[in-house]
Chain length 207, copies 2
Amino acid sequence: MLQKYPSVLLENAVNEFAKLPGIGRKTALRLALHSLKRTVDEVDTFGNAIIHLRKGINYCKVCHNICDTEICNICADPSRDESLVCVVENIKEVMAIENTGQFRGLYHVLGGIISPMDGIGPSDLQIESLVQRTQSGRVKEIVLALSTTMEGDTTNFYLYRKLNDSKVKISIIARGISIGDEIEYTDEITLGRSIVNRVNFSDTLKL
Amino acid sequence: MLQKYPSVLLENAVNEFAKLPGIGRKTALRLALHSLKRTVDEVDTFGNAIIHLRKGINYCKVCHNICDTEICNICADPSRDESLVCVVENIKEVMAIENTGQFRGLYHVLGGIISPMDGIGPSDLQIESLVQRTQSGRVKEIVLALSTTMEGDTTNFYLYRKLNDSKVKISIIARGISIGDEIEYTDEITLGRSIVNRVNFSDTLKL
């Protein structure tokens, strides 16, 4: 149904809010009307924060993580282990892994995964710069931390073949039963892998 | 958990998105990262649409509906019945009633309802201007179309007492069983009212 808006300004704002992912026209209207209840300064700060983010954003020259400087805080941190590089799809995964506090190496953000269905090939991703990083001689191990989807597996395999010539060790994050999951409800493939890839119990006690 | 963002610009954008109603920090991050995938122009248009809405918005001098001109399109439409004024809480209700296509009169937007719990009293609402409109002599009927909540009922009663001295007829929208509702699941109060306020069956056939 074509909804009539009493104002063109309101209609424009609703249209723009509705372009955001997961926001329908009803929520967009609610957000636009909410903006009317805020002060001019608050709305100005809101709009400009988004505009400045897009205009001012920088990508780290080493790992392609987003940052405000040439080199991101993680790459610039001398206490981190530069011989260990974790390959991730996007910035969100960097944040998720950083939140665990379990990884002290550096990252490499691919900017996506190989997905022929979406027209994303290896050349669209930061793969060439990853190969160059491994050729510097300072990287000893690459940890692949991509999604366990068909596209993730394809990308893992592509990277494995691309990096296999170098002397760098290539590892992959463990797949298994999530903490808190019950074995009887775990799918067969995950359960099967977790048995094949079983680890020494005493090793797990160190974590 | 305090989440660390790799960029201050990103953090600001996430904070601003998270101030919107119904948007948590996770969704805010998703929206901020989505903005990075759009072109600078697209993001500029988005931010400015919201800013321009807030800065440029006008309220109709007659009915307080939002509009781009001094008098809104509805009040300025000579084909509408100016003797019939529908009192609503907000702009959303104007849009909802307009969408039914069943009302050809004018509106009066109160800008809220009386709610002592939220500190909203009669003086915070556009009640004085409603009284003035009824004194002009052109208004013959006021239709109260507020929510069926305690606050809505309080406001209805307040308006009734305030307007009762004038010769204007005061009516209220029908409360009853929603179209499509089953009688056995309808709450007692609604069902009771719908019996007390029963209407001539042949009248309903005209709609």
